[in-house]
């Protein structure tokens, strides 16, 4: 069992989920409310990262983020270091790859909020941003939670992109999924099984806790009209 790797995975998954919450919600809100006629093209593009095999996506990312790539070069001249083979690089890759897992459920959830409630809030003098926080978010909690769970779980399990961009550095970019994969490749099934079990049990606990605690008080299945 690889403790450092498990901790790293959790850290990566938590950060990815957080970042995608911050980036994905505005994007989803735009997708849910905009009446721009070409919006559907953006919706299609958001899902495209999924279509490529992760390692291949990772390879293209590596080219883009590496010192010779367009982004990597700019990043290096700004910060003096490159993204690949660092936690930052993993994070960028995970966020990009998991984008659809957040944005799709978020958009569906946000689009389901009754517009009249927003109007009611505006009339009460509450700003659009505050309305988003106090009305839209609570009312789309189920869908947002589902997006976060997908993102979190998927980042834990993702390994193609992460391996490609991260370089499998022990304690820094070797996530639990890479560690398990390595063990399986090395025919060390016992060790793989142990790490996998810990990861599964832990994830199960996190997910069960999330769903269990999720305050169903405003859930959509009330006793009465």
């Amino acid at each position: 069992m690889d403790r450092a790797a498990i901790l790293l995975s959790l850290r990566l998954a938590a950060w990815t989920t957080l970042l995608l919450l911050m980036l994905g919600l505005p994007l989803s809100w735009w997708l849910a409310t905009s009446r721009w006629r070409w919006k559907f093209l953006v919706e299609a593009v958001v899902s495209l990262p999924l279509v490529l095999p992760p390692t291949v996506l990772g390879f293209y990312l590596l080219l883009a983020l590496g010192p010779r790539g367009p982004l990597g070069g700019a990043f290096e001249s700004l910060f003096g270091s490159t993204l690949p083979f660092s936690f930052g690089g993993l994070l960028v890759a995970s966020v990009l790859y998991s984008l659809p897992f957040s944005v799709q459920p978020f958009t569906a959830a946000l689009a389901g909020v009754d517009r009249r409630l927003l109007e009611a809030s505006w009339c009460l003098g509450v700003s659009r941003f505050q309305t988003f926080l106090r009305v839209v978010l609570p009312l789309s909690a189920t869908g947002i939670l589902s997006g976060m769970v997908l993102t979190f779980a998927h980042t834990l399990g993702e390994f193609g992109v992460v391996l490609m961009v991260g370089g499998n550095l022990e304690g820094r970019t070797r996530t639990a999924s890479i560690s398990i994969y390595d063990a399986v490749q090395a025919l060390d099934y016992a060790s793989a099984g142990r790490t996998a079990l810990v990861l599964l049990v832990f994830s199960f606990l996190v997910l069960a806790l999330t769903y269990g605690l999720q305050r169903r008080v405003w859930a959509s299945w009330p006793t009465r009209s």
């Binding site: 080219l63 590496g66 010192p67 083979f85 370089g167 550095l169 063990a183 490749q185 025919l187």
Partner: protein, 256 residues
């Protein structure tokens, strides 16, 4: 239970009804053989124009697991002779496990690299310009184990240990360097000779005595549908035509 598998026709989804007449051969081969084996097969296919010969490249570890679970492969060419031996121990191999090549490694840098590997060999990896050095994962990749051993025997391991990034396999290791994300890499000679790499960088061939012999072995599997064709393929690979190609692609021959 092993017997069950032999009459279990996993390939029941084989399309054509005239399949009985058609001779088939499915080879599972280690990824590093890609370029060499493709060329070997050009000649072999010419000899058997009617036969349907397919090859799947991949990780030898995966093949081991898949063959153990009934994958429809006839011949297994592993990157590590230990894997076919493991299959033999499970009683899945027809005849003997054979050695077909010995893998070799090189230190590879892109053409514009400031590192002077061609002159200084592994010593060049100590230079500060070598910020990241890619090797295959020694935990499961034979080339990774060889690279690690070579680094140790050349006395640079402790210096470069912190700079190592690990590829899942030798191809990914090469990509790390190719993309510029790593500054140097230790990869298979076979890969360094591949058209896509040859023009792009310099390589320094690590002496064979710097790391344990990487014996690549193979086996004909008991479940082979056309064992005769499989044997013919083995003989072709081990024969003069096959060995010549392997040699050209940077594989030393086992008997040397």
């Amino acid at each position: 239970r092993v017997g069950l598998r032999e009459n279990g026709t996993v390939a029941s989804s084989t399309p054509s009804a005239g399949a009985e007449q058609q001779r088939t051969l499915t080879i599972a081969a280690a990824s590093d053989l890609k370029f060499a084996l493709d060329e070997v097969l050009v000649r072999f296919r010419a000899k058997h124009p009617g036969a349907d010969i397919q090859v799947t490249y991949g990780s030898s570890g995966n093949f081991l697991a898949q063959i153990g679970n009934g994958a429809p492969f006839d011949v297994f060419l592993s990157a590590d002779v230990a894997y076919p031996r493991e299959l033999a121990a499970q009683g899945l191999v027809a005849g003997e496990v054979f050695l077909y090549a010995v893998g070799r490694i090189v230190v590879w840098v892109p053409r514009d690299s400031p590192l002077s590997v061609e002159q200084r060999g592994m010593e060049a990896l100590r230079e500060p310009a070598a910020r990241r050095i890619a090797i295959a994962n020694p935990q499961h990749a034979p080339y990774g184990r060889a690279a690690e051993a070579a680094l140790k025997s050349q006395g640079v391991y402790d210096t470069v240990k912190e700079k190592l990034v690990l590829g899942e396999n030798i191809a990914q290791t090469a990509q790390f360097v190719q993309s510029g994300a790593a500054d140097a890499g230790i990869i298979a000679l076979a890969l360094a000779l591949a058209p896509a790499m040859r023009e792009q960088g310099h390589a320094w061939v690590v002496p064979l005595d710097a790391y344990p012999r990487m014996e690549q072995g193979g086996a004909i599997l008991k479940r082979a549908k056309d064992e005769a064709l499989a044997r013919e393929f083995r003989d072709h690979l081990l024969g003069p035509e096959g060995t010549a190609v392997l040699d050209r692609y940077g594989f030393s021959l086992p008997k040397e």
